[in-house]
């Protein structure tokens, strides 16, 4: 099964270490986030990011993104993002819902990275009056929707624009682990040191069951975040079971090991794909040219993946699909 599933890292199994952590957490008696596991997360992330962090955990990436953005903008303000960002096209309007009405304002960019010049032009084109929605935050995705990893200086270029215009910078890190594993930089370098105010750090796609962290850099996210979490119905009474997943993922850098495995699988497939690649392969997603006939051939062999418009497909590797595990698909593609 593992050798056949390439439609989403969302569908992968939960890592055994996470399952063990859930079993261990079952011996803790405390409601809501009062338990020792939950209480330990601020320190754990502060260590990882080499700065004081305030961390709020939650079950989905959609909720993580929405709550951070709702915290950064008022209902009548806007959020600048890439035109195919997950928050724009795949969250059923959740950021607008949580923020009480904020407008997503979209921008183009190669490889799903917001283009800095387009960003500046867009901001300059907005009249500073009450008739037009004024953006108050920028959201970027790392790894991007097309599987590219942001470099610290690229993030810095965006954050400089954010700062100059009094905006907050959010990073949607549903695949943050894969991006960091590829870029080889420290988590700090590509986030707060480059000007990111808050990160949605995803674990679910990378081996957890349902666990994402809202990481606010620089001490505190400020009042309101926990109210948004509770009001959205995301405060679990047995919250220790989500905190425990995150602890397990952080322990001995399991998050990084898992991401490296998935990335290695992607690289192995990339070699097999050769000229079919539509974007450089950096994290764990491949976008490849594939005719309908070729796609049918691969599916006949049992491989499962999504079409990506006409004549193209998306392949995603997961933490349990390293280079060896993807060999059958690599061979099948090479044989097309």
């Amino acid at each position: 099964m593992t050798a056949m599933r390439f439609f989403s890292d969302n569908a992968a199994a939960v890592h055994p270490a996470v399952m063990e952590a859930l079993a261990a957490a079952n011996h803790v008696d405390t409601a809501y986030d009062g338990d020792a596991i939950s209480q330990s997360l601020d320190a754990a992330f502060s260590d990882l990011f080499e700065t004081s962090c305030e961390v709020v955990w939650i079950a989905t990436g959609t909720a993580a993104n929405s709550i951070i953005l709702a915290h950064f903008v008022r209902p009548w303000q806007g959020i600048l993002c890439y035109e195919e960002a997950h928050i724009e096209v795949d969250e059923c309007g959740a950021p607008t819902f949580y923020s009480g009405g904020a407008k997503l304002m979209t921008l183009p960019g190669a490889g799903a990275k917001i283009d800095a010049e387009a960003l500046k032009a867009r901001i300059a084109g907005i009249r500073k009056d009450v008739h037009q929605v004024q953006p108050a935050a920028i959201s970027i995705t790392n790894a991007t929707e097309y599987g590219l990893a942001w470099r610290p200086d690229e993030v810095g270029e965006i954050s400089e624009i954010a700062r100059a215009n009094g905006m907050k910078l959010h990073m949607d890190g549903a695949r943050f682990a894969n991006a960091v594993a590829f870029a080889g930089c420290s988590p700090a370098d590509v986030t707060w040191r480059a000007g990111v105010d808050a990160l949605s750090f995803g674990f679910t796609k990378n081996g957890a069951m349902m666990a994402e962290a809202l990481v606010f850099f620089g001490g505190s996210g400020g009042a309101g975040v926990r109210e948004l979490k509770k009001r959205g119905g995301h405060l679990l009474s047995k919250g220790r079971f989500v905190a425990a997943q995150i602890r397990a993922m952080l322990k001995d850098d399991l998050w990084l090991a898992n991401a490296r495995a998935a990335n290695a699988g992607a690289q192995a497939l990339a070699q097999a794909c050769g000229g079919r690649l539509m974007h450089p392969v950096e994290a764990n997603e491949l976008f490849v040219r594939l005719s309908a006939e070729e796609a049918a051939d691969l599916r006949a062999l049992g491989f499962d993946f999504y079409d990506w418009g006409e004549g193209a497909a998306r392949l995603v590797t997961s933490w349990d699909q390293d280079a060896a595990a993807v060999a059958p698909l690599a061979a099948a593609i090479a044989a097309l």
Copy 2:
């Protein structure tokens, strides 16, 4: 630890059968709700309730209540409920958030059951114009906030008023299992046969990890519920892990066995409390008169529970606290 924890069934451990179901679900590869476990829930609840049901699962009771109510009312309408209902005092305004602004309109009632006469008078007192918020739904809690179980005819009395005024009837069943276990009626009798349109069926307090079901009776809840779930960030990519908890709870009526155990623990404590009881004990909550000194004495022995205003306390038993397990506390109370 089990013998000492009486502050909330939210803090209890997860039942071993649920943990086993999670492990088993880890061998299923599908994202979102496309897996066989998730797909089986409609049929499972339809069997249990002896009618066609549409079921949506979610991680918290706050989200379950809010999404059902948001589905039943428009933003400018109201929701009638008991003045200390969980939706009114313990959900940070979540039903108003999900509904886009609906107003909670509160009513008195003995034992936290809405008083039918007060309900009729309240409805009659609302001018039918655009200046006043018009209620469109009634929400009752079973077991109630004071631990009482609704009887089918009592529910019918409320639903008759709902029907006569074109309103929907919602039941918050965070402790539905405990209520049914006490009342001895069928789940159908106290819900749709008595006029309930939708039920928040809670499993988290009764042995699950994080699992609640929105049960719509009569075939379908109608369009919009799944959009509200996704938009609220409650569509888990590995959703099978919540569905699996619910299947485990339904299997061989584990939900009923767990509730009976907790209720038995509550009855054992009730006998020890005698004249201290402020409400009849029907489900798994006890509200008892207890002086500050007596409370301190019990806490000195290691027992953990909440004060409930001055001179009173709340004791809650969980699925792992049957009559035998609560014997130490029963003895300590008797010895006060």
Copy 3:
């Protein structure tokens, strides 16, 4: 007609001076609030209130109240008010709509003035956690819903509680003119000097056509108010026509003269009502005991007014109904 209409000051005619101001404003060519009339309002109110004021005008009292309150609270917070306050029972949930979901939390009080002790107890009873909605503003109405005028020291008692709890204090002044005319105090004394942060100053009931002012004391209301106004569709392109009404009402204290006339009419009726009065008559509203038969008798004579529950009625005088104008009704009541 004037002698017969007692159901609402909302139904009164527009004062001739206001009509003249509208005609005069028709010779000004500017869109939105860029005209000289609109620009002059900050200074005019700053003079009247003896402090620096920021003023935003709008067409209705519901919008004025809602925008001020939405500006003072975040969506997950609450607003404390009297249990029959206009914002609670007569605005179709507008303050919740504008604030993005804030909860109105109601309190009792004699004559529709919030009881200070009840207010303190209510605040003390709210757990400071994310489960319960935390109030961030208090709203009082002057004159109250039962026609009483707040004295400066009474306002001060409430504002002290607001300050001690980090809350803002709003005054709904739909009948502020009538209250000030009765109390004989300066507008400053009963507002900002007593701790009020913002006032909805109503002119529509007192001789204008559609004109209310949001008055923020102490320099500036802060960012966001004008966005709320525009977003609510309340920024009129020919806004000078509302600003002109307000200027006309302020000129030579027409607002005070009109209120005095209405109050005098109310006092004349009060003498005729004697023991029928249910509340002291201070502004321009009377609540009187009146049997169904008596009410029918008065209506048979042509008088128009609202019943106010069983055996009671509400009489409202307007700026064009001074003591002489109400003589027929006074005589009819005396003759009952």
Copy 4:
């Protein structure tokens, strides 16, 4: 002054007939919309549009558009519109606010008319799942943001797409009068007969003071519209003064006469502009190529207008600016 003001029809004076109607309405005593003038609007519009209409009046076009759209979509749905539509770029997010979060989804189109092929492609490209926002309404503007008038068959082409996809069709008619005056069709032909469900019929830019009508074709707009109006703070207590403006505008087709005058002024300018025109001139707006130097020259002569990006300007004529009135500007442009 009239000869100099070309920056907006929003800045024009109120027509004398409207001023007279306001004076006449001052002799009517009724609150809210219970007066005879307000009650007569349904019939008046039903006559004009040759079908049964339900009409709700309001003070601004932003509110008119937002309430109709909020009535047509649920909070999690979308509204398709032209990428520079007024609702998208000039209303501070009001349609999203009123609808409780609906997403505006933009489309290109020549002359600000939505391109039918682009519309079909956009709809086809939306996955029918809960992850993507599903549009439920289409909004077109007539006259368009670039001053073009929709022909009945063009509207029909859009409405056919709307019907095929279960969507409602809204027409923003802030300058509906100018569009109808140019197209020479009946109001019915370009609205409901072409498939429009509701029209925002603007009068403010065309000689009224503050008056817009929400016109629902086919009998009734359905429940909820008046609640949205009240909840938005748009129910004026002395509402007769807005209804009276609309009656005055409809009387003897003043709306059409005013629009014809403004259009004639625009045509006179169009002749003077010749090759400078960027769009055909159909209604009362001209978009012309004009260097910074030329613009400065015209302004030095006293003419007032907006720049429209670099090297371009917008000229708008009003009801009081017919061909004769604009002669000075026409001459000045010709002399450039």
